[in-house]
């Protein structure tokens, strides 16, 4: 049985604000798990709780069945939302130093630093100060620092924010590779398309509570049916708005994306469409992650 990171019954209150409200979910090893929620949902607080960076009013974080303590955390990697490196320290020295703090020998830390800087495309900036790097390269340096010691658990708070598409792809591929090699990867993001591409599982929270969790396939397949209808000469989707049990979620590229209640017979929808014009597309589709997200928050 593969190892599992478990967040069980986490509660955290800041004055009158409830940041975590009996939050529980799991992150299996070998998978990339997307951690989603609107701003202020409690994602960062939950991630900080994994590292003991915030006191909990209740609840426990477990790794491999045992409560997480300082010894376990040294085998974890963390990339906080507000990046944290010494601005005036050289990139290579800094990543090496963090590797040593995680328990690597000097030689192992130096070798791993070189390897990760190379992999992330900033080997030529090894002797540059962090403050001299571009935002994207600082992000890469920060990721190197989280990865240098070969963590068993990788927790990344918004690792893709502010990156160009090439940067997102590069970092995304690193996350997938880490999971493939047995690491437990949890990351938060607002880039839902990227999350959908990278993640096997998704956990969505709101107001500190879990609102949805499961594999991307499970979540996409669940919920009301999605029907995409394209009619020649009709680009408003107005024809479907009056149909009982049918909601027009969006109209894009001349096609209307409809959400059907369980009670709706799709033949009724097809006949209504044909009454408007020649139907060139009539297909059921999975929920997109953005739809899963929006519907989970309702």
């Amino acid at each position: 049985m593969s190892a599992l990171l478990e967040l069980v019954g986490l509660r955290r209150r800041f004055g009158s604000l409830v940041a975590l409200d009996d939050l529980s979910f799991e992150v299996p090893a070998g998978q990339v798990v997307g951690f989603l929620g609107p701003n202020g949902a409690g994602k960062t607080t939950a991630m900080r709780a994994i590292f003991g960076l915030t006191d909990l009013d209740a609840g426990v974080v477990r790794w491999d069945g045992a409560p997480v303590g300082p010894a376990e955390r040294r085998r974890f990697g963390y990339m906080p939302e507000e990046r944290g490196l010494y601005p005036g320290m050289k990139v290579g020295e800094q990543v090496e130093y963090l590797g040593r703090l995680h328990g690597l020998s000097p030689a192992a830390a130096a070798a791993a630093t070189g390897a990760w800087l190379e992999r992330l495309g900033i080997a030529d900036r090894r002797d540059s100060k962090v403050e001299a790097l571009s935002h994207g390269n600082q992000q890469r340096a920060q990721l190197s620092a989280a990865l240098v010691h070969g963590p068993e658990v990788l927790v990344l708070d918004e690792p893709l924010s502010g990156l160009d598409p090439a940067g997102m792809d590069a970092i995304g591929q690193v996350l997938v590779d880490q999971a493939r090699s047995g690491c437990c990867v949890l990351f938060s993001s607002h880039q839902l398309d990227q999350v959908e591409d990278l993640c096997e599982r998704v956990t969505i929270i709101d107001h500190g509570r879990l609102v949805a969790s499961g594999t991307v396939d499970e979540l996409a397949a669940a919920g009301p049916r999605r029907l995409v209808v394209r009619i020649e000469g009709e680009r408003t989707g107005q024809w479907a708005r009056g149909l009982p049990g049918v909601t027009v979620s969006e109209v894009a590229g001349g096609a209307a994306r409809l959400v059907l209640d369980d009670s709706v017979d799709s033949d009724v929808v097809l006949r209504a469409a044909m009454a408007v014009g020649r139907v060139t597309q009539f297909s059921f589709q999975r929920r997109r992650l953005s739809e899963v997200f929006r519907e989970a928050l309702h």
Partner: protein, 461 residues
Amino acid sequence: MALVVAAAVVARLAVGRARRGRRAPGGPVPPGPVPPGPGGGPSTGPARGPLGLATLARASQQAVEATLGVVGLIAMREVKERVRGRIFRLGTLFMLLAVGAAIVVPTLGSGHGPARQVVGVVGPLPVRGQQLVRAAASRDHDAVSLVPEPGLAEARSALRSGRVGFVIVDGDQILVERPVSSSGSPADPALVRDVATYLGVLEAYRQAGLSARQVSVLDGARPVAVRALEASSKAPERATSVIGLVLLFFMLTQYNTWILIGVMQEKSSRVVEVLLATVRPLQLLGGKVLGIGLVALGQAGLIAGFSVVVAEAVGSNLLRGMGALVLLSELLWLVLGYAFYCWAYAAAGSTAERQDQVQSLALPLSLPVLLGYIYSIAVASSGNADLLFKVLAYLPPTAPFCMSVLVSLHQATWWEFTASALVSLAGTVAMAVLAANIYRRAVLRTGARVHLRDVLARAPR
């Protein structure tokens, strides 16, 4: 010592020392070649070649890291970053120059004359006479060498050329180029006077026809004790004390400000969040104060060693007798003072995120330092230590300054000194516990400045 004690406590509390050579068991491998084992890396192997400063520094670093684990790692990062800085190097150079000047300048034209005196000797000078000349030189802090001159003409020539400071003729006359009280005389006036007196006494012994035993008894005469109601304002240890106080104030202020700003910067750059995901707050705090403390101690040691060398070279009396004790006392109080204040400054730094907040925090913390410093300078200059000053010598915030001055004024016994040091150590432990609590609670709270009442109450991180 307090610093070392505190570091040891931190090290004991810090569970989970670095496990050398460990890779995360079962963790994914980094890309590229597998990292070599300890000592096998191309960039971290032991330095080749003769033992040099770099090798020594590396060995010291490894020793600290091996002894203190994570705390040692954090401390050595601080040491490297601080020592590498231009401010530190220039500051050290400035202090060395200032101390060198403070030692050398008083020996120039101070009436003591040159430190090294070459004395010409014309005619016979009995062994007893030679001993007396050397005794007089020792008394006047001069290094003397006796040079035989073939005749009076050669001796005059040697005097005019400046090759000798003065000449002893036939054991009963002294010849100088010009009156010793006049400016520009190469002869040390005090030495000339003392040699003249000693030789005169020797001549009187001879004329009195004293036996060898009687001469020996007279030679063994020692001055009776002279006790003054007030210590001389010109005692050299007092000058040593003042120089030491200035350095103590400068160094305490500088290193504590480093702590304050360093903690604030770690918080504002958010690097503290990455660090505390790996190490405990007490380890991080302990490493920082230990690292900066080692830099302070190293700098102070360098300045003290430099002072001793310079003082010896120019024949300064600043570090002779009690002066050396005063220097040692101030070194010890630098350590004790730093150990006490560093925790307070670290706790203050953990509540701030911006430079302007740092300034408003530093002011109240610097008040007791300023009070102790100014009061001590005044007392060291006047020689009058009143009751309040003696009380302040037992309070940890002001003891580093006040107790040092009492030592220089000969107004502190060894047990009073020890008692004050023990009180300071106890205060340091209490301060460290309080500061660690504040730091732990405040350093991860970002946004507005954290107020003490928030963290001293039951405060979440």
